[in-house]
């Protein structure tokens, strides 16, 4: 479960730069719908989870774009519940071109990579995602 507030876009050279601030309320343990598997994600073979919030969208230039906005390493033993508010993206949200302007369909999803002590490395996508529409105009003031 997540909530999001998007800010504004600004062109840098010739590419759109998006700024998104977001809140993450995630209960990683309980992401599974079946209650019985509550404790199963951090089992004996899980060393850590690599969480990342990615934005996915389509533009005229590119059929599919995915940009990681934020990531976090959650080690076994760390609190599996996240309550992050007003987070700024860790990485610049540049588009390859000007596809963010007026883009109504930018989807933010939280996913994670399960890193075991030994074995397979699966990528899991969290349930729930948020759509973030970008405005049609650029902001020229930089109040980031």
């Amino acid at each position: 479960l997540r909530k999001n507030v998007e800010d504004f876009t600004g062109p840098r050279e010739r590419s759109d730069l998006g700024f998104v601030t977001f809140d993450i309320t995630a209960d990683i343990l309980n992401n599974k719908k079946i209650l019985t598997s509550i404790f199963s994600i951090f089992d004996w073979n899980v060393k850590q989870l690599f969480l990342y919030l990615s934005a996915e969208y389509s533009t005229k230039n590119n059929a599919l774009n995915q940009v990681v906005l934020w990531d976090k390493i959650m080690l076994r033993g760390d609190n599996p519940r996240l309550f992050l508010k007003d987070m700024k993206s860790k990485y610049f949200f540049f588009d390859d071109g000007n596809g963010l302007k007026g883009n109504r369909n930018v989807t933010l999803t939280l996913s994670w990579n399960v890193v075991p002590n030994a074995g397979i490395l699966p990528l899991v996508t969290g349930s729930g995602h948020v759509s973030v529409p970008f405005p049609d105009t650029y902001e020229t003031t930089k109040s980031y």
């Binding site: 850590q48 990681v68 540049f94 990579n113 074995g119 490395l121």
Partner: protein, 192 residues
């Protein structure tokens, strides 16, 4: 009843030489046998390796992590199992092993951004978990993105520590020769 007549050997010196001849002859056959056995083991190992290359689609299905740029997930010496199937699309969050043009050593990092066109052409950016910045500084001069052709494979599974042996063998060549020598000795001496 006749008695088998054994011609007498002329003295103890000749006796020992004959004995050595026998031993030498016996050992030569066994030596050839062991060498063939050894050859079979090497060929089987190579076949398994080639088979892995075919199944995974990667030219290097198993790699050893050389740097600490993906800690705490992977450390130096960890072994990674890769696949490189064309049908698997490259998506953010995946751990890819790629080579920068002109460099021999492959790098293991995570995909940070992708921009994919309708026809499947994709350009992507990578970053090591333990690095503060993305990999643009590592790419070739003027290169801002990686492409499918730079990818050696995607990390699908891993085993910790085991690759340390190859790192040791690389850093300390004497250790490598010692290991090879011992292996060869073991195979030649061991009877199946």
């Amino acid at each position: 009843a006749g008695r088998a007549v054994v011609p007498p050997r002329s003295g103890p010196a000749m006796l020992s030489l004959d004995f050595l001849d026998d031993v030498r002859r016996m050992n030569k056959r066994q030596l050839y046998y062991q060498v063939l056995n050894f050859g079979m083991i090497v060929s089987s190992a190579l076949m398994i390796w080639k088979g892995l290359m075919v199944v995974t689609g990667s030219e290097s299905p198993i790699v050893v992590v050389l740097s600490g740029s993906m800690e705490p997930a992977f450390h130096r010496g960890d072994l990674l199992f890769l696949t490189n199937r064309i049908e698997d699309p490259i998506r953010v969050g995946e751990i890819v092993v790629f080579r920068i043009e002109g460099r021999e050593i492959p790098i293991v990092h995570r995909v940070l951004k992708i921009h994919e066109k309708q026809n499947g052409d994709i350009k992507f950016l990578t970053k090591g978990d333990n690095n503060a910045v993305d990999d643009r500084g590592l790419y070739k001069r003027g290169q801002h993105w990686l492409e499918k052709k730079d990818v050696v494979g995607r990390a699908r599974g891993f085993v910790p520590y085991i690759g340390i042996v190859t790192i040791l063998m690389n850093d300390y060549p004497k250790f490598k020769y010692a290991v090879l020598f011992l292996l060869g000795l073991f195979v030649l001496v061991h009877r199946e």
